[in-house]
Amino acid sequence: NSKVIQTPRYLVKGQGQKAKMRCIPEKGHPVVFWYQQNKNNEFKFLINFQNQEVLQQIDMTEKRFSAECPSNSPCSLEIQSSEAGDSALYLCASSGQNQDTQYFGPGTRLLVL
């Protein structure tokens, strides 16, 4: 079973508000991923880190989304100005440096009213 921790489990925000969620990867996993899963079960990769460095990110992430994985602190994903279309399940996953398997947390379900 995965030991990835995500908080909060549920997040309700109004349009234009900031939304911030956190992730603690499995111990010893230096690579962290963020995905967005919408109500149609479509997944969108957002960003990933190795230690504190960004490896890949999509254009959406570069605009309203920001993420970081500081040393000795939880990773975080923040939406600067939430929109209704951001309502989704945000999943954090972690993996070992050279391993293929990504282990997922329970997710943060964001609802933007």
Binding site: V4, N41, N48
Partner: protein, 114 residues
């Protein structure tokens, strides 16, 4: 175009039946294939993966999958399902050309009736 396709949106079986959930991919280069399960309202739980070697891989809870390069498939099977296997199943692919990110299929909803 790189794609992952799960042709069955819904599969319904009775407890004790065997089941096959299909996954086909279209990717170039080296790929890693995996299956995940998602129970209602929860995150994704890893079931199994394939990269190389024996094309039949064993996973948790009696699941196994078989890789076929000729068919570009990685179908998931279980010989005897339990009602608790009811969930959404996702096939995922990671290719060397897409970096480390996973690309998911559309998901298959498995319902197991008693």
């Amino acid at each position: 175009t790189q794609t992952v396709s799960q042709s069955d949106a819904h599969v319904t079986v009775f407890e004790g039946d065997s089941v096959e959930l299909r996954c086909n991919y279209s990717y170039g280069g080296s790929i890693y294939l995996s299956w995940y399960i998602q129970h209602h309202g929860r995150g994704l739980q890893f079931l199994l993966k394939y990269y190389s070697g024996n094309p039949v891989v064993q996973g948790v809870n009696g699941f196994k999958a078989e890789f076929s390069k000729s068919d570009s498939s990685f179908h998931l099977r279980k010989a005897s399902v339990h009602w608790s296997d009811s969930a959404v199943y996702f096939c995922a692919v990671r290719s060397t050309s897409s970096g480390q990110k996973l690309v998911f299929g559309q998901g298959t909803i498995l319902k197991v009736y008693l």
